[in-house]
């Protein structure tokens, strides 16, 4: 798992240390934190990272950390560790987007499976974020009229309809469309629809 980083947030030194050894054996870079506060202060999620968080810690709890990350718009898959299987809490955590909820003592294989799933989720999220960023940028490079044409085109309207809708000539629509395809780098109408979706273009 090259290039993967796992953040371990637990107030118990032995838990941090043992998890580090286990994860490093899988060629994962491990960064440890003794509390949620120090983690938040230093946290820099990469495109392939996740955090293993103890649910109960002095100061900020695991659930509070989850809420804080979401508030700050930080996309980071979380795996919670807990001393006792508290079902309502785990349900709340999962609903709030936690990847997994493991009860101590944890099994190494189980933890590694969760970590792998979390890292995949991390990659998916960062790719999605990247695609959305590119799409937003290319939509931003269009003129107002071009955006109008694009919105109607991805809805599946033929050129004639678009022309009638916007009160311009059929020929002008064709020119706009060619420019749109060029600027967004889309090859097909399907590509264009995907970009519109990722970039949040609304008709």
């Amino acid at each position: 798992m090259n290039g993967a980083t796992v953040f371990v947030v637990d107030d118990d030194r032995a838990v941090r240390d043992s998890l580090t050894l286990l994860l490093e054996q899988e060629d994962i870079v491990v960064e440890v934190f003794a509390g949620a506060e120090s983690f938040l202060a230093a946290c820099r999620p990469t495109s392939k990272s996740c955090a293993i968080v103890d649910l109960r810690m002095p100061g900020m709890s695991g659930m509070q950390l989850q809420a804080e990350l979401s508030k700050r718009g930080i996309l980071l898959p979380l795996i919670f560790l807990t001393g006792h299987g508290d079902i309502p809490t785990s349900v709340r955590a999962i609903k709030a987007g936690a990847v997994d909820f493991l009860t101590k003592p944890i099994m190494g294989s189980e933890l590694l499976t969760s970590v792998k799933a979390a890292l995949r989720e991390s990659e998916r999220m960062s790719m999605q974020a990247e695609a959305s960023q590119t799409a937003t940028a290319s939509i931003a490079s269009l003129t107002e009229r071009e955006r109008e044409v694009m919105a109607l085109a991805v809805e599946g309207l033929p050129n004639k309809e678009i022309a009638r809708h916007l009160g311009i000539s059929h020929r002008t629509v064709e020119i706009h469309k060619a420019r749109i395809m060029h600027k967004t780098g889309a090859d097909t109408l399907l590509d264009l629809a995907r970009i519109a979706d990722a970039g949040g273009l609304r008709p």
Binding site: D11, D12, R13, A14, V15, D17, S18, L19, L21, L22, E24, Q25, E26, A34, R56, P58, G59, L81, G83, H84, K104, P105, I106, M107, G108, S109, L111
Partner: protein
Amino acid sequence: MSTPAEKPERVVDDRNLREHYLRALIDNIPFLVWLKDENGRLVAVNRPFAESCGYTSGAQIEGLSDFDIWPADLAEAYRADDQAVLTSGRSRIVEEPLERDGDRVWYETYKSPVSVNGRVIGTVGFSRDVTPRREAIAELRSSEERLRLAKTSSNLGIFDHDIVSDKIIWDERMREIWGVGPDEPVSYATFMDGVHPDDRAATQATVRKAMNPGGSGEYCVEYRAINRIDGKVRHVAVNGQVFFEAGQAVRLVGTLRDISAQVHLSRELRERRSEMELLVKRQVAAQTAAAIAHELNQPLASISVYSEAALRMLRDSTKNPDPAKLQRALEGAVEQAQRAGRTLHELLDFLHKGEAVSELVDLNEVVCEALTIATENGYGGFRLLLELEPDLPPVRANRLQLQKILVNLLHNSVDAMRGAEVPAETLTITVQTLTGQDMAQVTVQDNGPGLGAETAVRIFEPFFTTKPEGVGLGLAISRALVEAHGGQLWIEPKTGPGATFHFTWPFAS
């Protein structure tokens, strides 16, 4: 010498004198006396009669009729009575109203016919004021009615024992409880037969004590009464008084109350209380188990991960295991196993002490002992403000358990102060009687950083620790122990600086 002329005069005088005597006689009868002719005209009345209708002498009203003297309705009634006597020729006794000073008062009147040579010529009457008697009777009736109501509503039974003749008067309620018929005679033996055999000796002793002429005569006892017909058992409470004459108990009067419902209720309460105690004990056990689980779970989690990491290093065929890392994993596992062992020992230590017998303990002494222990454990060196209430009553507790609770609080405070590097570590310990309660209150206050609101809420949870290496005994167990003894352990909310813990412990009764 007397002249012939004198003689008739003497006769007249004699007659006159007789007349005076008779007049004096009837005037001094404390009744109203009168004589009426057959037409209802008053022929003669005595002075009380005249006075009762506002005249000074009888002569003033002779010749008048009832209608001339009394209001029409009364006169009407008197006349009817007279008529009845005249017609029947028989005497009559009536209770009738009479008007005096505008008020109607009650008189009892005897009327008889007066005959001359076998012919009824009129009526004679005697009448006396019976208003006080009537009022007394009415008062007695209503007081009896009140008593009956009181008895009925309180369900009291009443007894009156003539000790000399051994005759007991029982009311219906007493007879109902004993199952004795309304006319059946009652004696001390009847009474004692209905007392539950197990309560007889004590009841008899109480009766004897009450009858002791040297005592107050107060008779107060509770026993079970058994109905001899249906066998129903009732718990009763009796209050009575013995009366003495010439140094002898002669009479015992009192009331009896059925308290079965209260007795059942208090028994139920007692049972529920012991159920509660059992629940608390179970809760202590559950909390202890939870604390053990938590204290062991942490090191177990680390041991498990350390071992798995080591195994994975050894199994990985792609690279040689790093000896330094392997060593770290194994050392970590050993260290955590020892940590688990220490935790277990401490918990067991605590639990064993928990089972020991309790004794009468001076809280002030235990506080001093705990301070010594804490100092010996390396938790000394702070400035101490000790406020011990002198002559504190003892509490019932297990000395070592109480010590442990206090030592635990002291350790927590010292840890907190040291962790925050407080310049002048100060600990205030107060032992005092809780006002209005039979309880002692112990307060431990430090000048450390205090606890945040959230920590203060969670600090008693068995799973909660602020100490990364927290092997210490949970406050949860301390609290459970305090509660199991009828006290409470809590942290004072937001009274900084520092944390303030209180616990209460009931005095030994």
